[in-house]
């Protein structure tokens, strides 16, 4: 019993036991799972990824048809997930910041109204809101045959908004490259002009140069004639509209649901961040003669940002993960596409592993990016 009283030995002993238990459980699970799979005659391995998917996906940003591979179907789902979460995060943040500032208003009516907005959104499950928005879209807009024509070519109905779209015949990559080049050049010029302005204390025309540089490459590419576009207008069929750009009700319901849900969280975070800035900052800015709106924009918000960023990271991760509720209203996101594939191939383990792996990887990526941004805005200790 002597060696059990030795703390160093005990540390090693406990860790050994923990690791062996985990390994044992993993092994037992692996053994039973492979026995069960063999008995049910289910294939294992990731070969199915290169097979034909054979499923139709109602919305995809890249070219996709049922004859494409399973891997491509999953990619379509992933792009849809990223698209809807990015847009929801963008709009939700804008609305949330405005609501959060409205919550801090000196006008009691406005601040109470914003409080009600936040409470109504936070105290009801997101899933219920998704069903509700989806139902309201279907209820309010007419069926396809009586689609409302807003402008020539713009049709609004309960299967979504269809509008004419520009389709790229050629030159898409060239334009994209030109755009990236323009943005990079503009950022460099802006950084240089800002440094000069800080050094000399005089305003300069750097922003004009940046603006010119931003659009110049794209204009040059277009002027060279390497780009050709064509219009695609929606046409009314008997049951649905074909062609053009279609914004589907599932997408809108999911976007609105995620966006409003996020905006309520952002509003609370922004309010807490503004309250964390000491009152002296407001008073000092007021003493310098800054009006309230500029005080908020130039003095308080930049400081509040330090408090705001870490919880904001969590809400962005939440919106990314919550986009998986798409399956409830039939928007083809990563989870819904994976679920369809799972039902078709029967390879539940591999499919679930793939989409959980993707979520985990992207969650880590988002938190790394936000940590980097947080380190940038954090107070520099000198």
């Amino acid at each position: 019993m002597l060696f059990l009283n030795d703390t160093r030995f005990r540390a090693v002993f406990y860790q050994f036991i923990a690791i062996s238990l985990v390994l044992l459980a993993a092994w037992a699970m692996y053994a039973t799972a492979s026995a069960n799979l063999a008995k049910q005659d289910i294939a294992t391995g990731f070969d199915f990824l290169s097979r034909q998917a054979g499923i139709a996906i109602s919305e995809s940003s890249i070219a996709y048809g049922p004859t494409d591979t399973v891997a491509r179907a999953i990619l379509v789902g992933l792009i849809n997930t990223i698209k809807v979460s990015f847009l929801a995060a963008l709009f939700g943040t804008i609305i949330g910041v405005l609501v959060g500032i409205g919550r801090m208003s000196t006008n009691p009516l406005l601040s109470r109204l914003m409080l009600a907005y936040v409470e109504v959104l936070r105290n009801v499950p997101l899933l219920l809101y998704l069903f509700l928005w989806y139902f309201l879209i279907i209820l309010v807009f007419p069926p396809v045959r009586q689609a409302i024509q807003l402008f020539p070519g713009f049709f609004l109905s309960n299967s979504g908004l269809a509008m004419p779209a520009l389709e790229w015949q050629s030159g898409f990559c060239l334009t994209l490259a030109a755009l990236v080049l323009g943005i990079a050049a503009a950022l460099v010029v802006r950084a240089v002009s800002q440094r000069r302005r800080i050094q000399s204390g005089k305003a300069n025309a750097g922003w004009i140069a940046a603006l010119v540089l931003l659009v110049l490459p794209v204009l040059a590419v277009w002027a060279s004639g390497a780009v050709s576009l064509s219009w695609s207008a929606p046409e009314a069929g008997r049951f649905r509209l074909t062609g053009g750009l279609q914004i589907r009700p599932e997408f809108v319901a999911l976007l609105v649901g995620l966006m409003l849900n996020l905006s309520a969280s952002v509003a609370e975070i922004v309010r807490a961040g503004i309250q964390a800035v000491s009152k002296g900052q407001w008073e000092a800015a007021q003493a310098l003669g800054l009006p309230r709106s500029r005080t908020l924009r130039l003095v308080v918000l930049p400081q509040a940002l330090r408090v705001i960023i870490p919880p904001l990271t969590n809400t962005y991760l939440t919106v990314f993960k919550n986009s998986s509720l798409a399956i409830a209203i039939g928007y083809p996101d990563l989870v819904m596409v994976s679920n369809t594939i799972m039902n078709q191939t029967g390879q539940a383990m591999e499919t679930i592993t793939i989409f959980m792996g993707i979520y985990l990887g992207l969650s880590v990526a988002i938190s790394l990016f936000m940590n980097w941004y947080n380190a940038r805005v954090a107070l520099k200790a000198r």
């Binding site: 540390a11 406990y14 860790q15 923990a18 690791i19 985990v22 699970m29 039973t32 799972a33 069960n36 799979l37 208003s105 000196t106 006008n107 009691p108 009516l109 406005l110 109204l113 409470e119 109504v120 936070r122 105290n123 009801v124 499950p125 997101l126 899933l127 219920l128 069903f131 509700l132 139902f135 309201l136 209820l139 993960k321 919550n322 998986s324 509720l325 399956i327 409830a328 989870v335 679920n339 799972m342 539940a348 383990m349 679930i352 989409f355 959980m356 979520y359 985990l360 969650s363 880590v364």
Partner: protein, 364 residues
């Protein structure tokens, strides 16, 4: 004596005009402010008019589905007709007093447990050996002459409460354990803790529910099947535990390390230091955050409807699809469900704010 008589009057004389001018400057101080007041006022009036018209003025109070079809307002007969189904799902109709009794007992127990003064070992024991078994017997039956009701028939509000409450009750110790593992000085334990917490927090709840519904049966040896409800419950416990662990970790970090060292210096064992010195201080700090988490989980249990369990949201949606009422009272159903979730979440939110104040003052 004379002072106290004069003072209030004097104060009133000064205070009243001040209050009025304050009121005026708050609502109409500047042209911009006056504009904001007018816009908000108009918005509030519009919303009130819409709500009043829909809920009462244009609403149908008696009659059947046909009467509701004609009207533009709320359809109250739908609620009256489907209320029991929405609350209790497919639970046998004659036995529905049992889930009702269970719900009342549960909510009553919760109300009593919300008072900080009754917190203690006795309360825990009362829940563990009296309330929970009684709740289970009421729901499942099979003894004392109660007919047995399989879990596949459970549904509605009791199921929603059970999933979230039982989930949290079991997730709390597990989450504390994970937090301690994450803060451990033994590298292997720490890595296992961090790995599990980050894995669960990095994926959506729906994927864990899918795993429980589809993948878990594959890991079971032959002949062993686990109830679907239990599998979902295990998934929720695991998910909640990871989030609780992160909150508790925040509390642990707030406790100065001197507390731990002092405890060890007194010759206490690791578990004694943790359970008697560090955890009581850490948990006290994070109770409001835990209540906030509980509100989120109460709402997140709605996700079980995606894997086919009949929680409250699901029974409401099934009621909407009833052939007699199909497409007539959809908005009514969703608004009713939203109202129920809102009331319980808002009450818990208020309780969380109360606890925050309660713990704040006790430190001063």
């Amino acid at each position: 004596m004379s002072d106290t008589q004069i003072l209030p009057a004097a104060m009133n004389a000064v205070a009243r005009p001040a209050r009025r001018s304050e009121w005026r400057s708050a609502y109409f101080g500047t042209p911009g402010n006056a504009f904001v007041t007018l816009v908000c006022g108009a918005l509030i009036l519009l919303l009130a008019k819409l709500a009043l018209g829909w809920l009462f003025l244009n609403a149908v109070f008696d009659g059947g589905a046909d009467a509701c079809k004609q009207s533009t307002g709320a359809c109250w007969p739908f609620l009256a007709d489907k209320l029991r189904y929405m609350l209790f799902g497919f639970y046998p109709f004659e036995e529905q007093w049992r889930p009702l009794a269970a719900l009342c007992l549960f909510l009553g127990g919760c109300c009593v447990s919300m008072i900080p003064r009754v917190w203690g070992r006795g309360l825990l024991i009362a829940w563990a050996i009296v309330i929970l078994p009684v709740l289970y017997v009421l729901m499942a039956g099979g003894v004392f002459g109660l007919t047995e009701v399989p879990t596949s028939k459970w549904g509605g509000l009791p199921l929603s409460f059970m999933l979230s409450f039982v989930g949290l009750a079991f997730a709390l110790p597990l989450g504390i354990g994970l937090a301690l593992a994450r803060a451990s000085h033994l590298p292997a334990i720490r890595v296992l803790g961090v790995g599990l917490i980050e894995l669960v927090r990095g994926v959506p709840l729906i994927s864990i529910l899918f795993m429980a519904a589809v993948m878990l049966p594959l890991f079971m040896p032959d002949g062993v099947t686990i109830d679907k409800l239990l599998r979902a419950q295990v998934a929720i416990i695991l998910f909640a535990a990871a989030y609780i662990a992160e909150i508790v970790r925040g509390g642990l970090q707030d406790v100065p390390s001197g507390q731990f060292e002092a405890g060890r210096a007194l010759g206490l064992h690791y578990w004694q230091v943790m359970s008697k010195i560090v955890l009581p201080q850490a948990l006290k700090k994070v109770i409001p955050a835990l209540v906030g988490l509980f509100i989120a989980f109460f709402q997140d249990t709605t996700l079980v409807t995606i894997i086919g369990l009949l929680d409250f949201l699901d029974t409401v949606r099934t009621a909407l699809r009833d052939p007699d009422w199909q497409g007539i009272a959809v908005l009514e159903g969703y608004v009713f469900a939203a109202a129920v979730y809102f009331v319980f979440s808002a009450l818990m939110g208020g309780y969380s704010r109360f606890l925050e104040r309660h713990f704040n003052t006790s430190h001063r």
